[in-house]
């Protein structure tokens, strides 16, 4: 597992430069609640037909930040982005709330601050 | 298509695979993981099983009159909730005296009815447990 830190401003460019759709497999978008109202967002990729090659791009952000969308680069990212929005209550460009949780359920269950 | 056709026809003359369930009982495997059973005499009250149980289906709660077991110093009583149990047998593996104090049978638990009062009385025990901790 290789971890590379990026910032929210550059993440799109980095992923655009890195992602070759026949070489890399986009696994998922992962969130991680940190202390002091911060969270970590991870974009996880793995290489096709390679032994244990996982690359994680991560950025540490505040809950108020808006995460840029990568759906135009990787269409299947939409589903993870919407999950991130539902579970953490952060904003991701172009991803609405409400795919995983209903309105009357506990909101943002995984975020460290809202509970 | 014709093999299915022939199969459907030959199946007419075979004994069906399904059984008349409530009338013909199901044969239980000997090694089936079923209810947990407890032998009070052998228990040394180390509470390892209680700590190991993932869903918390085993509780040792103090009673007013301690049972006749000299190893039981705090006056604890074993309680087991078969409807919470996931039959993983972690408790049996944690037990220092398996087969005597705690073992797994191959019996299945019966469906809970209202009379079993699995919820309320169990919640009461859980509250009691919290108080003693």
């Amino acid at each position: 597992m290789k971890k590379i830190e990026v910032s929210l401003d550059t993440v799109r460019e980095v992923i655009e430069g890195f992602y070759e759709y026949k070489k890399w497999h986009f696994l998922t978008l992962n969130g991680l609640a940190l202390a002091e109202n911060k969270m970590e967002v991870q974009w996880i990729f793995s290489k096709y037909e390679a032994l244990e090659e996982t690359v994680v791009y991560f950025a540490q952000i505040a809950y108020t930040d808006v995460i840029p969308s990568i759906v135009d680069l990787i269409p299947s990212a939409i589903i993870s982005q919407r999950e991130l929005v539902d579970m953490f209550g952060v904003q991701v460009e172009g991803s609405e709330k409400g795919l995983y949780l209903d309105e009357d359920s506990l909101q943002n269950p995984l975020s460290g601050c809202s509970l | 298509m014709f093999s299915s056709f022939a199969k459907a026809f030959t199946n007419l003359f075979k004994t069906p695979q399904t059984i008349d369930y409530p009338l013909t009982p199901i044969e239980q495997e000997k090694e089936h993981r079923g209810l947990i059973e407890y032998g009070q005499e052998a228990c040394i009250y180390c509470l390892k099983c209680e700590k190991a149980c993932p869903p918390g289906a085993i509780l040792f709660v103090p009673v007013e009159n301690p049972p006749e077991n000299e190893k039981n110093k705090k006056g604890l009583k074993y309680h087991y909730n078969p409807y919470l149990c996931i039959y993983c047998s972690e408790c049996v593996r944690a037990c220092p005296k398996p087969d005597e104090a705690l073992w797994q049978s191959n019996k299945k638990s019966l469906p809970a009815t209202k009379e079993d009062r699995v919820n309320e009385s169990w919640f009461e025990l859980e509250r009691l447990k919290k108080q003693t901790d």
């Binding site: 409400g98 209903d102 269950p109 | -």
Partner: protein
Amino acid sequence: MKQTINIPLGSQHIALLEPVRFKFECENEKIIGVDSDVGFVHRGIERACTTKFKFDSIGYVVARVCGLCAITHSLSYTVAIEKLLGGEISKKAKYLRILLLELDRIHSHMLCLSHTCENAGFEAMFMRIMGDRELVMEIQELLTGNRVQFDYISIGGVNRDLNSTVALKIKENLYEVKQRVLGYMDEFTNNWSLSLKFKGIGALSLDDAYIFNAIGPLARASGLNIDVRNEIDYLPFDEVGFLMQTHSDGDINARNLVRLNEILNSILMCENIINGLPEGEIFTKIKGKPNGEAIVRFEAPRGELMYYVKGNGTAMLDRVRIKTPTFASIPAFSHIFVGQDYADAPAILASFDPCLSCTAK
């Protein structure tokens, strides 16, 4: 005037006994747009793993994410913890883990095949495959003590040893299953009415499989070489005879054939394991508290399953992230539906082998 009709499939539907809703926008019976909703029964397992349970019992919690691939969930989690604790398990335990993993794959694939047949309106085939699936369920119960929730994996090894009578029974039953599977192979390729329902229906091209990050049998049926068993090193899949099964058509028929071939390959692997089971302990005690982060991937019957685990040196974990196969394939699903007939939609859906209890974890 309104030109299209909306046909709902779910959230309760005969063809799919799981809470998911697809809303198809149709012209006559041709689907031109798909909308899906999956969040009917969110169970909050990820949160429970970090707030309610200690790390050593989470293996049993995540096994309850899904009934059909329970073994893959608990195995992935356990391997992640073993990675964090730095323990090495015995070779025999590794072999037994693969054995149960492959048995699970066999019965899960059989369930999917039977369900696909039922949704194509072929009830007899459904009953036939379901009946034969009992052979596998039986040996699973003998091996682990339960038919569905195996609870076989524990941190440091496996819970039960394989004795010689069970090994013999497994070999006998698997031989029988192999004969039956060869029979299905004939049925799936030669039945005229099934070919009308399956050939050329619900196709996914190789390029689309790359673009939508398709996984599992869905991707392999389109010719994409993705099988996590090929990409991991913590279990010795290459030693027991793993071979990747692919097809190039990408339609329902191709998916069925990929699944059938995988069953045959799994049977072969199980036989190899039983014949060459190494001597040794099945359980090694691993001590410590997890610290750090680990990503573990496994090939569940439906595709790639990913666990991300982060520990902080205490008994409670910081984060358990479960990426389930069906969840990751939803964009690909929605893409395939467009342009198909509504009459084919249930069969297409079943051929994806969706597992909504995984998705709503």
